[in-house]
């Protein structure tokens, strides 16, 4: 037999394993392959489910261009392969093209996660020239009436469509990110078609996760169980129909799950992000957990040291921190007790079992609450902004 065939016979594994998964088993705290960089919390949109913390970093506290460049160089040196430029709205940074070029020169794969409302065509072209590998645009609906209202910004949907078209004209790959909730789930079939029409490579159907701003808006956003069942059916059908044309990633809302999600692939295992002010965080919502101290890239420590040794990363790493029912649970290595931020938000202790789990003593109450809120007529949003939020009904929005 040939060497090639021999190799095939002895190697039972797939030709293409997913590195994140493989490495998380192979190395306990190897440096993550991908890192999220929140360049700024400034954003022209006011989405009520924003994943940024309630206490937003002010523009004046943001890392400088040179500080971000130093971070990018360091990330590439320690083995990070991909960076996601996010925010807030990353294009609000005047130095974005310069940062993308620097990342590209350092060998990093660069992804832009944008609302796309501040992105003229020539700037997008400059980003492509600087080596940008991929663009992800968020959509709030499939047409302006719903979308502009959710975004809290007039004319935002039309601009997003325009930028999505330019993205493909410039031959950049496109992901459509659709954040779903009770008030736009009825548009899902049309959103899937919109992604196909925009010639997107990938569609993320991401149900809102309820921390921070989204938790404040939970009553206005929580889908009904019936909506979730319909969503899952639509996604399954579209995945089959569009195989090889459009990849669909689907995030279910965990309030209706039986088992909690393995949040972030496990605390301090596969992921970290850097906040606008330079804090190195195990998750973009981690600052919502009080009592944790997060180290900054402005400190004397290297990013690798912070990842390996800082208290915030080690506090919930592995399983030793667990209490019952997680501690003796057969699923503890599978879901790692769910989401620490959600456990904190709903139980007051990040070390408790995530109530998304049926084994949590609070699960039943949380599920009932979700059902009640989903059935409520409370549709008014609290818009996200630096002032701590503004109730819908003012003079902004659509």
């Amino acid at each position: 037999m040939s060497e090639l065939a021999d190799h095939r016979a002895t190697e039972a594994r797939e030709s293409f394993s997913v590195l994140e998964r493989q490495k998380s088993v192979a190395e306990t705290h190897g440096i993550p392959v991908a890192v999220l960089l929140e360049l700024t919390h400034r954003c022209p949109l006011q989405c009520p489910y924003c994943s940024n913390p309630i206490e937003l970093d002010r523009g004046s506290s943001e890392l400088t261009t040179d500080e971000w460049k130093k971070v990018l160089t360091e990330l590439a040196e320690i083995g990070v392969l991909q960076v996601h430029f996010s925010g807030g709205e990353p294009t609000a940074r005047k130095d974005l093209v310069e940062l993308v070029r620097h990342a590209n020169d350092a060998g990093l794969y660069t992804n832009l996660i944008t609302s796309a409302v501040l992105l003229p065509r020539d700037r997008l072209a400059a980003l492509a020239d600087a080596g940008l590998c991929h663009v992800q645009i968020s959509f709030q609906g499939n047409e302006p009436i719903v979308a502009d209202r959710v975004a809290g910004l007039k004319d935002s949907h039309r601009r997003k469509i325009e930028v999505a078209k330019w993205t493909r004209e410039l031959d950049l790959p496109l992901t459509v990110n659709a954040v779903m909730h009770r008030q736009n789930l009825h548009q899902l079939a049309d959103i899937i078609q919109m992604a196909v029409d925009l010639d997107a490579d990938r569609l993320e159907v991401a149900n809102v996760q309820y921390y921070g701003w989204a938790l404040k808006n939970r009553a206005a956003l929580m889908p009904t169980l019936q909506q979730i069942e319909e969503t899952s059916r639509l996604v399954e059908e579209a995945r089959e129909r569009l195989k090889g044309t459009l990849t669909i990633d689907y995030v279910v809302p965990d309030y209706y799950a039986l088992r909690p999600k393995k949040c972030m692939g496990g605390w301090g295992r596969q992921f970290f992000n850097i906040s606008p002010a330079g804090k190195v965080l195990p998750c973009h919502a981690a600052e919502s957990i009080t009592g944790l101290e997060f180290e900054s890239v402005r400190s004397n420590h290297s990013i690798a040291w912070i990842w390996q040794n800082s208290d915030a990363f080690n506090r919930y790493r592995g399983t030793a921190w667990m209490k019952e029912p997680c501690r003796s649970c057969e699923f503890r290595e599978i879901d790692l007790g769910g989401c620490r931020c959600q456990a904190f938000a709903l139980t007051g202790d990040a070390g408790n079992t995530d109530p998304a789990c049926t084994l949590s003593p609070l699960h039943e109450a949380v599920f009932k609450q979700a059902e009640l809120e989903a059935a409520s007529e409370e549709n008014r949003f609290l818009y996200r902004n630096f002032a701590g939020g503004t109730p819908e009904g003012g003079d902004h929005g659509a």
């Binding site: 037999m1 030709s15 590195l19 490495k23 083995g79 990849t247």
Partner: protein, 103 residues
């Protein structure tokens, strides 16, 4: 305008990685990786060898010739393996074909 999204790999295909997928040697982990949106794949040694030949110019037939000669192996078996492996990658959206020049 845009290249056809989904390709069927055959002996005459001239495959290449699309712009959003990059083959790179990861110096930290000492493995070859394919970088793609939200994904990092670790191709095995054989896949890496084949992917390094995917330049949008070489046909799958040419690749099979080269690998058959290198490993002194039956060309037919190699061709089958290579097509299966590349089709798998194409189905995952990480393989395309060079565009025909229109002007």
């Amino acid at each position: 305008m845009a290249a056809p999204r989904h390709i069927t790999v055959s002996e005459t295909s001239r495959p290449m990685l699309p712009r959003h997928a990059r083959l790179k040697f990861d110096e930290t982990r000492k493995v070859w990786v394919i970088l793609a949106p939200e994904r990092v794949l670790a191709p095995d040694e054989i896949a890496v060898e084949v992917l390094q030949l995917c330049d949008g110019v070489r046909s799958v037939a040419t690749m099979a010739d080269a690998l058959a000669a290198k490993y002194a192996a039956p060309r037919g078996a190699i061709l089958t393996d290579v097509i299966a492996m590349l089709q798998d990658l194409a189905d995952k959206g990480f393989l395309t074909e060079a565009r025909e020049k229109t002007e």
